[in-house]
Symmetry: C2
């Protein structure tokens, strides 16, 4: 089957939520069958997640409360891409702001789409090595705890359900494969 | 830091989009600092993704157009949990509806949260073995193509960026670890 046999075409588009943090669109679409339907989805600027490798080989993680699920998650440093920002700069900025670390060596590992059913978000994945610790730039309303885990510990915590954040799991899959090859 | 030191408390809550496919809430919250802020997020019923293993060891995938990103994705069979539905039944129903396969042996591999920043979605991950092919139950408005890949092919396609769907990547990480242990 060709991609064009699966494609849906926009008939009209409206914004059904905006002004706050989330922009949500509702489009009327023409399906491949010729029938009409509607699609609703979140408009997202994209994000970058960083796997920061310490000199001892451990990885820098965060514990952060996530309101949508009302629980504390173990996550890698990550954040949204600012308007016109280069994605590498996003990674460097978020790592410094959230953890205080700067890195000399950055490797792009890949990208993923976390939520293809209802969001256009893409998450770019970087590995950061040769870390040096400076001063984090969290303000008093940004509450998170920074800590470290070994690669083996973090992979075990994914498999036993202690780490369930999708962007962190995907980034760790890429990081594990990379580190197996490059040490 | 204790979880309670990171927690945000709901002051008030409103629905800012509903009636279509997506329900979006906006809550006023009290931060740990005592300051007030707001959080917006999608309310989601949860979903199940299935890694279906064929008798020849290959895995059943789908090609499907996703409107939010306007591209065709390679995905594992998956779908939303219906009201009051057992998650195993969701997996069995979605696998049959989308691909025509039934499976005799089901293993729960884990779960993940794809989008903790703005959705309460959880995705449960199953492995399905001993497949038999019947008749799929897609209606004429459900357009997707079913095909198979080996484990090695699919892992390679994740690493080289041909498979970028987050739920599929996370499920394949769990499946690879499981199959390495159980064959």
């Amino acid at each position: 089957m060709h991609d064009t046999d699966l494609e849906e075409h926009c008939i009209s588009s409206e914004v059904i939520a905006s002004g706050g943090m989330l922009t949500v669109k509702r489009d009327q679409v023409r399906l491949p069958s010729g029938h009409q339907s509607q699609r609703e989805f979140v408009i997202h600027p994209g994000a970058v997640v960083v796997v920061p490798i310490l000199p001892n080989g451990n990885i820098v993680f965060e514990r952060q409360f996530r309101y949508a699920l009302h629980q504390v998650f173990i996550e890698l440093p990550a954040g949204k891409i600012d308007a016109n920002e280069d994605i590498l700069v996003t990674g460097q900025r978020e790592l410094l702001e959230e953890t205080g670390y700067s890195a000399q060596h950055w490797v792009k590992l890949g990208h993923q789409h976390p939520c293809i059913g209802y969001s256009n978000e893409v998450i770019h994945i970087y590995l950061a090595q040769n870390l040096t610790l400076g001063q984090h730039q969290r303000d008093e309303d940004e509450h998170l705890e920074v800590f470290e885990l070994s690669l083996a510990q973090s992979m075990q915590m994914i498999l036993n359900g202690e780490i369930t954040d999708g962007k962190t799991i995907v980034a760790m899959l890429f990081a594990e494969k990379y580190l197996m090859q490059h040490g």
